[in-house]
Symmetry: C2
Subunit: 704 residues, 2 copies
């Protein structure tokens, strides 16, 4: 339309500079973990800029922060904090994906959207559609390293704007009085429409009046087209003017030449509103791109710190609260498991499960660690030992320092360790000796207190792990867990064998309920969880005083070290499988007369059984797992609760329910009482010979 001359004044725009509040990253982290998961589709966010800067040393900032994720009406663009802009956030799952995104394609797509909003007139009604932005991110949440790249798409249409003169500050053009009048007109418009662009009309009667852009066609006395200008430079307007000019060039091409633009800057300094540095520019001529595609060229990727087109990074690991960093890092790891592999996994259920670990020895330490890795936050240890020098190499929550000066109490020391591993743990240690059948009680008052404490503690927890070093010390917690209907997980070690089992879980004892029915037989080759036996169900004698007169090597059960890791890992996986099973503790266990069949057979069977046995998303939920390291064998026996069991039978539970501690006191002083109450004694009379138990008797996990 006009050829360039040497001293032509070309209109140039100050690009946006992005500003990301660290609160944005925190919120993104949370959204990634809680909402987006592995979804990397673009999502809508908002940003904002202000036209309030009154210092020309500040760049034109486009800000995003935690509130960017809120669902906001961008049509009400001019809020108290500034002018809202609609943005599109694409958070990739990998750095490679971040890099691989075709940047031109992405910005073109956004440009197309803006162009369509121009063509359709939507942008006339809602000028904030012109200030869309793109934000591309990759959040490396392991390192709290964030990669990001903003684009502020702008259409190259017109391709060049020539000015009549250098931009002038509005207070050089208007009188103070006039400026004040305009200011009032603008405020009125702002409170009515809240839009970031407007038409300024001035007629002699009414003075200044601001109108929405869409009324432009009907207005005659147009003085200026105004827009909220993020720039504070005395020489250049900010980026939003570019797409605004594209809009005007499309809809009001004829008005463009000669048009005056008000770059409205509306700040406060020294308690005074300052609008005088708003710029006025007057368009002398306009150059349009040659005949090209239907959509104008689009550009606007932000340059990085080095002035190159490229992404920026920020690392927040130092600025964030380390405990919260740990919190979300641990959370993320588990969420990844869920997102990727097990969408049906209920992580909250695991996290909220309160676990009581009886014994803070080799098994207790490894079980606690495995629970933590699963996200369990509540772990309580019960142990009455102190950390000794031989412990740390086997008991993974203790170090050499814990052994000094006689050794720290194990339960407390283990609980402290958990918090040193992960500050989010709610861990507690209780120094308590578990009273045992047949272990004569000398201080009855003390023991009664201990029993009460143990019973209360079991009440406060959801799962009880039996990890002590003697068979007898498992009796009381087994009985109390059965009485209170808690899930009990048992792990016991031999030299190179292990037993990991869940006790049959029934409802808490209710005297009104008939619980003392004998077995009703077994359906479909599986036992319901409530039908399963406990650790003592296979015993035909009461747990007695087995620690008496054991030699040094027997006192400390010697096991192949690998065994304790295997048993601990299995014990926790068993608990998690139960928790994730739709029927929880009542999950059935297959009765496998021959657990050792081939993988292929099992795979077939699995299909067949899927209907019959409602398995956990984590697979089968066996009653017990017995392993024999000597030949690397493992069997999964499931056995029914024994009507005369000394620990879980209704006969024993009922006696405890009725007599309370008085019954226990008898048992502690003489374990034969248990055989009487459970009916075992009668059974002994009935049976001449007793079948031998099939497996080598395991010794117990040691807390020594």
């Amino acid at each position: 339309m006009s050829s360039a001359v040497d001293n032509e004044k070309i209109l140039q725009f100050l690009p946006f500079s992005s500003v990301i509040s660290s609160s944005f990253w925190h919120k993104l982290t949370q959204m990634k973990i809680d909402v987006y998961a592995l979804n990397d589709e673009p999502v809508e966010i908002t940003g904002y800029y202000t036209n309030q800067s009154i210092s020309s040393r500040l760049p034109a900032c486009l800000n995003v922060d935690y509130s960017s994720f809120e669902n906001r009406q961008v049509s009400d663009a001019v809020g108290t904090n500034g002018i809202l802009c609609q943005g599109l956030l694409q958070n990739t799952n990998t750095l490679e994906a971040f890099k691989d995104i075709n940047k031109q394609t992405a910005i073109n797509k956004c440009g197309e959207q803006i162009w369509n909003d121009i063509l359709s007139g939507a942008a006339l009604s809602n000028p904030s559609l012109l200030t869309r932005f793109l934000l591309l991110t990759f959040a490396d949440l392991k390192k709290y390293q964030f990669y990001y790249w903003f684009a502020f798409p702008t259409l190259v249409f017109p391709s060049k704007i020539l000015l009549n003169d250098d931009p002038k500050e509005v207070d050089k053009v208007l009188t103070k009085e006039e400026l004040l009048q305009f200011q009032q007109a603008y405020d009125e418009f702002k409170s009515s429409y809240g839009q970031s662009a407007f038409v300024v009309e001035k007629n002699t009667e009414l003075g200044y009046k601001c109108h929405p852009l869409k009324e432009l066609a009907n207005l005659k006395d147009i003085m200026w087209i105004g827009f909220c200008d993020p720039s504070s430079l005395p020489t250049n307007p900010g980026w939003p003017l570019r797409n605004l000019l594209a809009l005007l060039a499309h809809h009001h091409k004829e008005r463009l030449v000669g048009l005056s633009i008000l770059c409205w800057r509306d700040g406060v300094r020294d308690g005074q509103r300052r609008v005088g540095s708003s710029l006025l520019i007057e368009i002398k001529d306009v150059v349009y791109p040659g005949e090209t595609d239907s959509i104008p060229k689009c550009l606007g990727w932000e340059k990085n710190e080095r002035g190159k087109l490229g992404a920026r990074t920020v690392n927040l690991s130092n600025s964030m609260d380390p405990e919260r960093l740990a919190e979300s890092a641990v959370d993320l790891n588990l969420k990844l498991m869920k997102w990727r592999l097990l969408p049906e996994l209920n992580l909250d259920l695991i996290q909220n499960t309160k676990c009581l670990l009886l014994g803070a020895g080799t098994l207790g330490c490894y079980v606690a660690r495995t629970l933590m890795a699963w996200g369990v936050r509540h772990i309580t240890f019960v142990d009455n030992g102190r950390v000794s020098y031989s412990n740390p190499v086997r008991q993974s929550l203790f170090g050499f320092d814990n052994c000094l000066n006689g050794g720290q109490p194990k339960a407390e020391s283990a609980a402290n360790s958990l918090r040193k591993i992960f500050p989010g743990m709610m861990s507690r240690g209780i120094d308590l000796r578990i009273p045992m059948p047949g272990h004569y009680v000398t201080d009855a008052e003390e023991v009664e207190k201990d029993v009460q404490m143990l019973a209360d503690t079991i009440d406060e927890h959801d799962v009880v792990f039996l990890l002590t070093d003697t068979r007898e010390s498992r009796w009381l917690p087994s009985m109390l867990s059965a009485y209170r209907g808690k899930l009990a997980i048992n792990a016991a070690l031999g030299f190179d064998t292990y037993l990991v089992m869940r006790h049959g879980q029934r409802e808490p004892w209710n005297p009104g309920q008939v619980q003392s029915e004998k077995s009703k037989g077994v359906m479909r080759g599986a036992l319901a969880g409530r039908q399963l036996g406990c650790y003592f169900c296979n015993d035909v004698v009461a747990p007695g005083n087995s620690t008496k007169d054991r030699t040094l090597d027997q006192q400390c059960t010697v096991t192949r070290p690998g065994i304790s890791l295997i048993a601990s890992g299995l014990a926790v996986e068993l608990m998690v499988s139960v928790l994730q099973h739709p029927q929880g503790g009542n999950a059935s266990a297959e009765i496998s007369t021959d657990a050792m069949t081939t993988v292929q057979q099992h795979q077939q069977q699995e299909l067949e059984k899927k209907e019959a046995i409602n398995s956990s998303p984590l697979g089968v939920v066996p009653h017990s797992i017995r392993g024999f390291l000597h030949r690397h064998q493992q069997v999964l026996p499931a056995t029914e609760a024994f009507f005369n069991c000394t620990a879980c039978s209704p006969l024993v539970i009922q006696r405890y329910a009725e007599k309370g501690y008085a019954f226990l006191a008898e048992v502690f002083n003489d374990s034969d009482v248990l055989e009487q109450v459970s009916g075992l004694a009668d059974l002994h009379k009935d049976i001449a010979t007793i079948e031998d138990w099939d497996y080598p008797e395991e010794s117990e996990g040691s807390t020594d």
Copy 2:
């Protein structure tokens, strides 16, 4: 013989007070662990007392210390340190056994021995036979608590000795000149005979002369019977006189009345020898016990601190060097395993095995812990990561503190942790990135250095654990381990599956040796260790660049937490089984087409196979263990080395042996090179279709 009168002067003896040097307990601990094991038969030790005390405030001490365990000639009783006594140490295995020992029976037995030595005259020739003692101990080596009880058996024979007068100090009786003369006579006797009792003759010609006790019968001018007196009381002789009087009463009853006894005290004060406080006592009358058993009554159990007959305890945990305490406590635990369960276990072999752990992630941490529990002292980690916030809940050698400020380097942090657990560890961390096939090398010089470092490190170790988080990062160490003939143990995890395997172990590469023979077929359903494959033997493509463009969840392999404990436990147990196998790395592995048969079948098979397969004392030594937690299955496939393996085949090894880093550089830049060199590429041409690998492909253990 005479009736008691009111003011009769009854001879009373100062009992021994036992003094146990802490060096005694240290030596006992060592003897218990290294020699006695569970043997609780009494063993001979020595103690000593001195007659050198010159202060009456000191008790008559019988001392035992580290030297008590040395084999010493007690006949030379009077040494420079004092008078040696023969003792019998009985160290029980339990506190109960300690308590249960019948104290009267024990002391009677010792009394009988003394009496027999009196009757036989042996005690006349060797008076030290009269000062036997008993020491009963129980060493609770977990708590460094020692229970002990001394007995100084003395025969009540005669039952009462009456004196003419109170004991007199010898310098009140002899002139200075006379005392000096006697002293010279005693010194002569001491240097000739070194006995603790003697006969003092005085005749006018020769002056004083001391004779051995056995010459008593032949001597006439007997002035005194002397003995080295541990007492320094001015009123009472010490305990040894009692049995000496019994000896005299039996052999020289007729001489007893009127006999003078020299209680010889021979000390030094202010640099001056002092013998003047030696006592002289004169026997007025003797009362014998009524006709009783053939053996006189025996007494002499030491009273405890409270003046009661009872045991004493001492706890050395505070006085001992804690690091040495830890050392011996850890040692003891392993020794107990050997003593009680596996006498053929070679613990030294394990302790001296140098283990290199490639990867200090979940697997690396648990493997290291399990190795420590087995007594391994040399552990080196290789990892190039830093500890991040998500690590500690899964990686058991790290805590929250290790994550702060960007995280400590993992290898070093893990190595430090081991020493905090057990100061005796020789642990090291190497921050090194293992170069991988197909991962283009940008800084060749750096990578060449890393390769050299890795090769040197593998050379310095005996066992290489492959625990990194990608398949490709296992290639170089697999190849180098094969080249150097090291035992390689591999552990890899899937979400709920694991693979633990040993690589076939052959001799270090020797170009002169023909190694490139193809399989010679399999004998007896088992493969020798050298015939077994490696991790890559089942692959039909070279390890490539699999980490490229993995999403967040794939980058960090997500596994059920229990899996890593199970795999780590199994990996270490596999290593220990190999080490303990008579054929070591060449131990055969059964080829089990159906590893899942019943326990019963296996038990039968085991008997049958005992001859065929020379199993480790720890049981079978499988080639690999594949576990599937979903159904709690485990199989033990053994596969033969693949002639075209990209990692362990002679073709690849030979190329490396010839070209060194130049070959590796090619591989790092393009993994196809491996397919060429190994012959896989040719094979691909030959085979139209490739059978699918039967098991779900496992992902790898993560160090993230």
